[in-house]
């Protein structure tokens, strides 16, 4: 398959990726044999900052999963996220703003 200046051979690429995935899986198996997982109370205590955290309690808040990305796009989340509040009047305001923006954009294009 060819697109403009690029080239992509999907079947060749798929075979290469499958081979790579198989090789990675073999490396994973080999690594597991070399260093078996041995969770101990001392280890858990160290990694939990002195606290004993049960495995089922160790769940992170999914909203904070990419907190660094949130920090980078702080202005976006400060101004745009409140617009997704679930309030109908805010949603209707979005539509009115949208119509005005589209009207102006079409006017600029058709002039």
């Amino acid at each position: 398959m060819e697109f403009g200046p690029g080239f992509w051979g999907p079947i060749v690429a798929t075979v290469v990726m499958l081979l790579g995935a198989g090789f990675a899986y073999l490396m994973l198996l080999a690594g597991r044999r070399l260093a078996r997982e041995r969770p101990s109370i001392a280890k858990r205590s160290t990694y939990g900052c002195g606290e004993e955290v049960k495995p089922e309690e160790a769940i992170t808040d999914s909203e904070q999963f990419y907190s660094s990305v949130r920090r980078v796009f702080k202005p976006f989340y400060r101004y745009v996220q409140p617009g997704h509040s679930g309030k109908l009047n805010t949603y209707l305001l979005w539509v009115v703003i949208g119509f005005i923006v589209i009207l102006v954009a079409v006017a600029l294009v058709l002039r």
Binding site: I102, A107, V109
Partner: protein, 502 residues
């Protein structure tokens, strides 16, 4: 026989919907379980077969025209099928059929399945009618049928499970959606007042002679109205609430079928009727904003269905960007992504439904380690997630790659770069979802969760296979969208076929 296929494709689900109450009464009388659901499956699969049967005629000779009552346009109403709306009709009928099969088990516990089946068929009839018609007022009427059915389906869970969130989301969707369709009706009224015709081909022919300033308001009204249906930023606000509150099968239908029909209406009206390829740059910019806002919002979601809703908004941005470029490659990429989006979006919502069916929640904070309990669902979700993120060798990669290259060739390399970054963000939030649902520690209460039933897994597997096949053999997808691309870029054959040289 094939000449009447366009009207059959519309009437089958429409009359099927009206037959459901009778079937419900008879099945209750004779204690036949799930008769309504099976009837809906049969009707929708037959509709798909009828649409597929039109393929040979349309791909061979160009445009199929069916005149209602034998009245010629522009006085009579016509159904006109070219490569573009055939592709959309195939997507609508295909997704609706799979949703109906999925619903056989997914909606089994709900008592008003007859109501559900009626609405499902009505939405499909509306989408099919608005796709196949060659008359803009007819398009509006079918669009309303599709929209009203969708509002009811979003709110339907209140009838089954007293879920009041569904009513709230349904009412919000109804108010915003009705505003959208009102704007469409106003736009059509202005056009009719100006031109005196409602046939799309006739309008396309005569609008070329009208001053640009005269079409400004109707064009803006129509773009806003259809923009609400496809959840284009900033007209998207209804979508996350509606997708989250609706039954997952209906979220799959909304994302895969009705949005696709909405986008078709937008393309048909703006590109073919107004011949406004100049508006393309505006679409490319709106597409870019849509993909950025959708992706950034998806990144912070705690609920899987809400995340998928924002992700769907973001993918719509890619489609708008590709089609907005206006080049052959851009349109090809946009339409290919439209097809792919319907496939992986339906798959992902069905996976969310499978999780909801077994666990009872899609809150990412309450899930974890389900890969051990639901390995097939996990595998299918990963395929869908990688496909939507544009990871090779899946179908999303082929269409996104086409769009990136088209952007670079059109001199909009910065746009392509932003699109690539948004793909990385897409992968990021889907990795978060995979980690939160299928990996990590499994809460004790999830230890006895079982895999989703086979009837639900079957349509999901079919969609996953399509993700792989269209990725490994992208030429299949490209060949499928090529007639649609040809029809979109050359409107004269559509106009000539409908008007017959008038």
């Amino acid at each position: 026989m094939i000449e009447i296929a366009p009207i059959i494709a519309v009437l089958l689900p429409l009359f099927g919907a009206f037959l459901i109450p009778i079937i419900s009464m008879v099945s209750k009388r004779f204690h036949v379980e799930r008769a309504c659901s099976w009837f809906a499956v049969v009707i929708l699969v037959t509709t798909l077969a009828v649409v597929a049967a039109m393929g040979a005629a349309v791909w061979g000779s160009g445009v199929m025209v069916y005149k209602l009552g034998g009245w010629s346009p522009p006085w009579g109403i016509v159904l006109a099928v070219d490569g573009l709306n055939l592709l959309i009709a195939l997507i609508v009928a295909g997704v609706s059929s799979l949703v109906a099969i999925y619903s056989l088990v997914y909606m089994r516990q709900d008592t008003r399945i007859d109501l559900y089946s009626v609405l499902l068929l009505l939405v499909t009839a509306g989408a099919m009618g608005s796709t196949l018609t060659g008359d803009i007022f007819n398009l509006y009427v079918f669009f309303e049928i599709m929209s009203i059915g969708s509002y009811a389906l979003v709110a339907l869970l209140v009838a089954f499970r007293r879920k009041w969130d569904s009513v709230e989301a349904g009412i919000k969707y109804m108010i915003i959606g009705s505003l959208g369709t009102s704007l469409i009706l106003l736009g059509i009224a202005l056009l009719y007042g100006m031109i005196g015709s409602l046939t799309i081909a006739d309008l396309a022919q005569k609008l070329g002679q009208v001053a640009a300033s005269d079409v400004l308001v109707p064009l803006a009204l129509l773009i806003t109205g259809f923009g609400i249906k496809i959840a284009m930023i900033p007209l998207h606000a209804w979508a996350p609430d509606a997708y989250q509150a609706a039954p997952s099968s209906i979220s799959a239908l909304l994302a895969g079928a009705t949005t696709t029909a909405g986008l078709y209406a937008m393309i048909r009206v703006v590109y073919m009727m107004f011949g406004a390829f100049g508006v393309g740059t505006m679409f490319a910019v709106f597409g870019l904003v849509t993909m950025v806002v959708g992706a950034l919002m998806a990144l912070t979601q705690r609920d899987l269905k809400r995340l998928l809703a924002y992700s769907g908004i973001s993918q719509m941005g890619y489609i708008l960007f590709g089609i907005g470029l206006g080049t052959a490659l851009g349109v090809q990429g946009g339409l290919f992504h439209l097809l792919n989006n319907a496939i992986f979006k339906a798959l992902l919502f069905m996976c969310a439904g499978a999780i909801l069916y077994r666990v009872g929640t899609t809150n990412l904070n309450e899930l974890g380690g389900l890969g051990k309990n639901m390995p097939i669902t996990a595998g299918l979700f990963v395929i869908g997630a990688l496909a939507i993120s544009g990871v090779p060798p899946l179908n999303g990669f082929a269409s996104k790659w086409t769009i990136y290259i088209a952007g670079i060739e059109a001199g909009k390399a910065i746009f392509s770069l932003i699109a690539i970054i948004m793909s990385v963000l897409t992968l990021a939030y889907f990795l978060k979802a995979i980690n939160s649902i299928f990996l990590g520690q499994r809460p004790k209460r999830l230890q006895n969760i079982k895999e989703a039933p086979l009837t639900m897994l079957f349509p999901m597997m079919l969609l996953a296979v399509l993700c792989i096949v269209l990725g490994v053999l992208p030429s299949l997808g490209i060949n499928l969208v090529a007639p649609a691309q040809g029809a979109l870029m050359n409107q004269s054959s559509y106009i000539n076929a409908v008007l017959g040289g008038i």
